[in-house]
């Protein structure tokens, strides 16, 4: 069975510092990996997906199949990045998505 692990429940950094939110997964096949974000009082929404290789709001994430990781990174954190971040794994054509427990990021001024 697939599993997503986000080892940090809470992460706090100062504005302008680099930030990395860790995500590790276990799945024997080739998964699709996503990062979703939930800002205060807003809905959960897609931040980025690995297949599009985009940089959204300065965030990037690289799929490392060898380490089975999909860490989310931003070189210079901003206060507005404070939110709950979820890493998710989907199996092609199966519909089911598995989410991690989430990491609450706080960016201090």
């Amino acid at each position: 069975a697939q599993r997503v692990t986000q080892p940090e429940k809470l992460l706090s950094v100062f504005k302008g510092a680099p930030v990395e939110l860790k995500c590790n997964y276990s799945y024997s096949g080739s998964p699709e990996l996503f990062w979703y974000v939930q800002y205060s009082r807003q809905r959960l929404q897609l931040l980025l997906r690995h297949i599009s290789r985009e940089s959204i709001k300065g965030f990037t994430a690289d799929l490392n199949k060898g380490e089975t990781s999909f860490h989310l990174k931003k070189p210079f954190a901003q206060e507005e990045d404070s939110a709950m971040y979820y890493c998710a794994l989907s199996i092609t054509n199966a519909g089911k998505s598995t989410f991690g427990d989430g990491t609450t990021l706080t960016v201090k001024p």
Binding site: L46, R49, I51, A88, N93, K96, S97, F99
Partner: protein, 114 residues
């Protein structure tokens, strides 16, 4: 256009009662998902619909939980004989299809079982 909507936004019920939660997906989205989020925990997959059929019901925690979808639109999640451990936020999401598409989430229904 309107996003995914869910009703009610909050539901308080007594242990043993049945509850029905509703989800209206984005028009044209064929895939629909239900998740449960307990306090301080991540999203727990419950069930997935492709059209009106549910190819994956593996996440339903017990036979007290059921869900249906009609007209490839609205879905209802029913919890019978609610227990206190059912207290959680129930999230619904929809996507264009079930083949790895971005999921659009509703605001959730906060269920409290007393």
């Amino acid at each position: 256009g309107a996003g995914v909507s869910q009703s009610p936004s909050n539901k308080v019920t007594e242990k043993g009662k049945d509850v029905e939660l509703r989800c209206d997906p984005i028009s044209g989205h064929t895939a629909l998902y239900w998740y449960r989020q307990r306090l301080g925990q991540g999203l727990e997959f419950l069930i997935y619909f492709q059209g009106n059929s549910a190819p994956d019901k593996s996440g339903l925690p017990s036979d007290r939980f059921s869900a249906e979808r009609t007209g490839e639109s609205v879905s209802t999640l029913t919890i019978q004989r609610t227990q206190q451990e059912d207290s959680a936020v129930y999230l619904c999401a929809s996507s264009l299809s079930g083949i790895i598409n971005e999921q659009f989430f509703g605001p959730g229904t906060r269920l409290t079982v007393l």
